[in-house]
Symmetry: C2
Subunit: 396 residues, 2 copies
């Protein structure tokens, strides 16, 4: 067959729920020459990525590595390694990704008990104690930053819950890592995973994962191997940490690592650390609270209460009479600006607007506010000017 024309993807402003805008330095890193997965020069890159991930996750966990798949592979890796058939798993469900945790746990053979909260609201630690009902629990799992609703879950209190029920604590940090504090060790988290395409502002394709010494110990006492060979951490650790026989000096081949994606992650993590974690989190808070002020000044409704709102992802209710898909199509056509539609309980009823990593800028927030106003005007709904409130909040 005749090959198609070369790629020429449009330049977008990515303000959906991910992927987010990627810094040109990260794109350039992707294009560095490929080397072998056992090349001594690559081992250096691996060690640097591991150290930088530890810093961003807020952990000293040795097993802090990028899994070779997207964020969902990270979820599956955490679950299939910690859960064996018949294990009871308590899962907090207040959005799509809590639901996905249940599906993944069930396929791994877990007996899932859902601990629900309303979509758009945070989970209550005490509800997990009640759901455990005094029975043995292997894993308590919850989502730190629910990408389907824009809720930030306070992690305080969950280590105590997990201890009370004798469980490991598993946290989905897909949309939180790099955008707000995750602090695994401070919160006593045993396993957490993320994606590269949210607040790390690297293209999708890798799943940063961190596992505590206690969880690694649990892996070594499994009754049978994980259902997944590809995501088996006992095998993968022999590549990323070196083999025990060699005292960690020799790396055992498991699968061929995605070399160039790891280059991209390396540069993305360098950018995070250059900015500094505290400064980066403050930037997300500052821009996104001004953005929220602008949205509210336009009389748009934010379903998530301010105290539970995620800085990097804002849920915006679609006003009565507005065709939400047409607004998104307008933004794409007029401004090359992508925002996300609602998922699950919010499908067709809300937009999801990301201000993540490199894309969390005053300019992007301004563009989105004025573009939204224009798109509503094209559907006959005149909204008030958002910019005075936005500017005032930014200055405040």
């Amino acid at each position: 067959m005749k090959p198609p024309a070369p790629l020429s993807p449009p330049h977008r402003v990515l303000m959906g729920p991910g992927p987010s805008d990627v810094d040109p330095r990260v794109l350039a890193a992707l294009a560095q020459p490929t080397i072998g997965h056992l090349d001594p020069a690559f081992i250096v890159v691996m060690e640097q990525v591991r150290s930088m991930l530890q810093a961003v996750f807020g952990t000293a966990n040795q097993l802090t590595i990028p899994m070779s798949g997207t964020g969902s592979a990270g979820m599956e890796a955490a679950m299939v390694n910690l859960v064996e058939p018949g294990d009871r798993v308590l899962v907090g469900v207040n959005g799509v990704f809590g639901g996905r945790l249940c599906a993944v746990a069930e396929r791994a053979g877990g007996e899932v008990v859902q601990v629900q909260a309303d979509w758009g609201r945070a989970l209550d630690p005490d509800a997990f104690r009640v759901a455990a009902a005094g029975r043995a629990v292997k894993v308590v799992a919850l989502v730190h930053a629910e990408t389907s609703t824009g809720v930030l879950q306070d992690l305080r209190g969950f280590r105590e819950v997990a201890d009370d029920v004798g469980a490991l604590l598993l946290v989905d940090a897909v949309t939180s890592l790099g955008g707000c504090a995750v602090d695994l060790d401070a919160h006593g988290v045993d396993a957490a995973y993320s994606g590269t395409q949210k607040c790390l502002s690297c293209p999708p394709g890798l799943a940063p994962l961190s596992v505590s010494a206690r969880a690694v110990q649990a892996l070594s006492t499994r009754r049978r191997p994980a259902v997944s060979w590809y995501l088996d951490l006992a095998l993968i650790a022999r590549y990323w940490l070196g083999t025990e026989e060699s005292g960690g000096t020799a790396r055992a081949y498991h699968h061929t690592a995605p070399i160039n994606m790891i280059y991209g992650l390396h540069e993305a993590l360098r950018l995070v650390l250059e900015e500094g974690l505290e400064a980066r989190f403050a930037r997300h808070r500052r821009i996104s609270s001004a953005f929220a002020a602008g949205l509210q000044a336009m009389d748009l409704v934010l379903p998530v209460p301010a105290a539970e709102r995620l800085p990097q992802l804002t849920l915006v209710a679609v006003p009565q009479g507005i065709d939400e898909a047409r607004v998104r199509a307008d933004l794409l056509a007029e401004h090359s600006l992508e925002i996300g539609g609602g998922l699950g309980a919010f499908a067709g009823r809300a937009w999801r607007i990301g201000l993540m990593g490199a894309g969390c800028t005053e300019g992007n927030a301004r563009l989105c506010l004025s573009a939204l106003r224009g798109a509503h005007a094209r559907q006959g709904l005149a909204l008030p000017d958002p910019l005075p409130a936005f500017v005032a909040a930014l200055g405040g």
Copy 2:
């Protein structure tokens, strides 16, 4: 923490078992701007990738897509989707990757029957009939190009075997795709997977996969979902092929596709089709048979018989008294040239030398022959000049 210095990977000549040399056009494609996984412009890219993969796999299978993981994820995807707990699986084992197929099938709950051949030799279709012993078999699985030994498996006769035992036919095409004819439809293959980092000369990170209509039908009659949510083809097809409800026009989000890796694959496939499949396969045969002539002129032994030898990967026995790891270290230090060590039965006893895709050039073959000769000389072993035989074979 202070970030490490920027990446500066060395330029290597990659002649191991993969990753192989990547064309600069593919590296440049990786660095194109990231867009959303549901962006209309990305849907066009997906459709083009699917068509090009169909051409390279030699199939009209609709479900011909890149899975979001490395080649090993492709193996796991094929196995966990086709196999349910208790299903009997016949696996040909004549190298590491046949063994890996067994491990993956067992974790998915399959009852594996191994059909062995010597390492370095091809499998015999009749041995599968004998192993079936008249019992029901769900899947017959074998490796087309065994990366651990450099054996090319003739696929003729295996469709008949699979039909005789009532099974689906699964083929590992990791090292064959793009380097020699795979021709899935001609061989009646029901499921095949590959990796991007061998003869497609794209960085590692994706697993091209193709599944026949018959195998898709088998998916729809599973008793329970696949153990893997991430690799569940029933869900992934709703993204890559569109949803059935919409007649294929609407794409359902499953996981965020690895956008930039798919850009790279798009350009790698364009390069394959620009060259033309037949011309590309002929190039692999021509360069590699001259390379083999050069190796033999140096009195090096090739354990695989010529008729079963894979053009893109050559197994070379380590001469008596030679430190094989020191030879590899020498090539890397002196020529920035990577070759592979042996695996499994050939660990410490052989090298694996790849001539794959963009790396399958006369220049690379010459460099490797003379570098090998030099490395042996440094260990006190004078080998005859390989170049006259190499040049003669190239001209022939």
